[in-house]
Amino acid sequence: MKTVKSSFKFHGGVHPEYHKDLARDKAIEAIPLPGTLVISMSQHLGAPAKCIVKPGDKVVKGQLIGEKGGFISANVHASACGTVKSIELKQGAAGGYANAVVLETEASDETAYMPPLDWKTATKEELLKRVEDAGICGMGGAGFPSSVKLNPPPDKHCEYLILNGAECEPYLTADFRMMLERADRVRTGVEIMRKVLNGPAVRIAVEANKPEAIAALEKAFADIEGNVEIVVLPVLYPQGSEKHQIYATVKRIVPEGGLPIEVGCVVENIGTVAAIADAVTLGKPLIERVTTVTGDGVNDPKNVLAPCGTRYEDMVAFAGGAKEDVRKVLSGGPMMGFNVADMSISTTKTTSGLTLLTEKSVFQYSSHPCINCGTCLRACPMSLNPAAISCAVESDDIAFAEKYGVMNCIECGACSFSCPAYRDVTQNCRRAKAAIRTRIAREKAATAAAAEKRS
């Protein structure tokens, strides 16, 4: 095991103000069990889970309440004991609707966890099945089901397992606290994943502004065998982006439209790795996570360990409540977070933070015409031409945006962040991507309909 500095710099990137000092020194604190939990069936990427409980059912903490609804999907478990009050269509932070189990909780020590496994003696298949059963998905934001990631197609081989501990999003400190306080769990998770993936080399990527986390990991991994390195990344947003992290750690470039496994890499977030350890050694499904409740709009910023399904209002109340002049509530941080206006939305497996901003931290603007300065080109980590794409989208020329590679956009926000004319560049890229996806879906449906007509 050794610690190395990353020497591969990707193009672009920006330096937002980090504001991590608000919560970085606050130890992880468990929230008292809320009276009501609203557990969404769509906490991951892919098909929503199928709800298998009905109103009036009594459930136990850890019990399966939603079965995975497709290949790319994940199980959902009860995050506490209680009674199912209703099944309702609820809006999530990103705006989409999904079924959610409204659970009236009761204090009880009863659990319905799976039997613990000894990862040293368990087979690869058993371990993989456990990750799948436990409903584990990427906790960094996208929520890609881990069992799919850990089971690459037979013609692909994982050479590098990369642990994403960059946490480049401003304000958030949840992963930082996990590395600091649960480094041993992270290590167990790494050893399990390494076994499942047939012993790839391990790279743990951490931004240089987290020396305490690096020290904690060095200690926990000191006597690990095999090819394991901690890679210290320069502080640069978006260092936590999968493609950029792969480049920064092992200098491989994921091909356009491709997945990391195509260049022999699997990237998993720090929190997810610890959750995998819990699922195997304790039999505990993914029912809780650490969420940073922060921003100058909360009275007592904290890193909160909360059951999935805790409503935002309960999270904020636990962090000392919101200040009077809060103007923005973000699910996530300020660069990629979703702006919400409803405090009854509940947390999911991917809620890494809640950031509340007051009047003085909210940046309000009106846009000017593009002056062609090229700042966004220099900021774009995907080497796109956001200025040209954005102007094309404003005149509804989606074909131009597609030709200029808008589908590569990772929506990191670096372009809008750095635009001196305050243009909605990121938003325009998003609009183009949505329009292109809709068109592709429509074309697919038309082809399918035509095929049906012929037969």
Binding site: V14, P334, M335, H368, I371, N372, N408
Partner: protein
């Protein structure tokens, strides 16, 4: 709670168009200072009149077009200052006013204002004036003959030739020392003579990341190499004379009218350098920087089309 809803990102680098324009104005201050040092009150008047006329024209145009006032972005101030620095010291002030009105009204606002103009407004105005007021725009005086700002000496201005006129005639023996070129004690437009002041300003812009090195370096390097092969005048004097440095660092780098990618900027700079030298060696005018940049402005959309960046991960 009164909440705001908007799309991410929710943070900003807090830079702005006006702060970038302000930086360019600051970068021009050393050159403006030198122009006052060498040409005295004439320079003060030219600069003041051009800036005032530009700002007033901008405000009037925006009112006439029923658009929001845009003088706060400082682009009109910058256009006025750049135009003034590109004028000969003895130009009648009414001509300077005419040029400023042309720059803002015709070269900029007719197209929709900042961000939409295809040609650099200050250079368009200079070209317009060169054609309309050919005599006044090509009469040069020796800096030594000017009343200083303090009013100490008062000698009648002496008409003289610029170094480029000697170069044109092939009369290299008349050229003054390299030191005069660097300090600016030579004939020429009020803001273009002092190379050191201009280079200090350019360095400031590059350090502040307002401009990149691509256009100035490729522009001047192309001129240097061209002059080297052509022979005759030492290449360094070509680079230091006329509006080369002012043009390469402050006019060709205008965002709106130059290519957006680094590759495109280099193509643009090489084109400017080649055209400048072609005009200087074979054209009717002794100086070609303004026309070279204007011609390359017209080519910018084409350069942009062929120098798009390659997305990360594309083969």
């Amino acid at each position: 709670m009164k909440l705001i809803l908007s799309s991410s990102p929710h943070a900003h680098a807090k830079n702005s168009v006006s702060s970038m324009m302000r930086d360019v104005i600051i970068a021009l201050l050393p050159a403006a200072g030198c122009s006052v040092w060498f040409f005295g009150m004439r320079a003060v008047w030219l600069i003041a009149v051009c800036i005032a006329a530009s700002v007033v024209t901008e405000a009037v145009c925006r009112i006439a077009m029923k658009r929001e006032n845009s003088i706060g972005d400082f682009s009109a101030v910058l256009t006025g200052l750049l135009l003034a620095l590109n004028l000969p010291p003895d130009l009648p002030l009414w001509m300077a006013v005419t040029g400023s009105v042309f720059a803002i009204a015709v070269a900029k606002q007719v197209f929709g204002g900042l961000g939409y103009n295809p040609f650099n407004p200050a250079l368009s105005a200079r070209a317009f004036m060169l054609i309309s007021f050919t005599g006044a725009m090509t009469t040069w005086s020796n800096p030594a003959g000017y009343e200083s700002v303090t009013g100490a000496t008062s000698v009648d201005a002496v008409t003289c030739a610029t170094p480029l006129m000697f170069i044109k005639k092939g009369d290299v023996s008349q050229l003054t020392s390299l030191k005069s070129f660097l300090l600016g004690n030579i004939g020429g437009c009020i803001g273009e003579t002092c190379a050191i002041a201009l280079l200090i300003g350019a360095a400031y812009l590059i350090i502040r990341k307002v401009i990149t090195w691509h256009i100035p370096v490729s522009f001047l390097a192309t001129m240097f190499v061209f002059a080297l092969f052509k022979g005759g005048v030492p290449p360094i004097l070509h680079v230091l004379s006329g509006g080369a440095i002012l043009g390469a660092c402050f006019m060709a780098t205008d965002y709106v009218t130059s290519p957006i990618t680094a590759k495109g900027k280099i193509v643009f700079g090489i084109g400017c350098g080649l055209l400048t030298m072609c005009i200087r060696s074979g054209g009717g005018y002794p100086e070609g920087v303004s026309f070279a940049i204007l011609i390359m402005n017209a080519v910018t959309p084409l350069i942009n089309r062929y120098t798009q960046p390659k997305p990360f991960g594309r083969k």
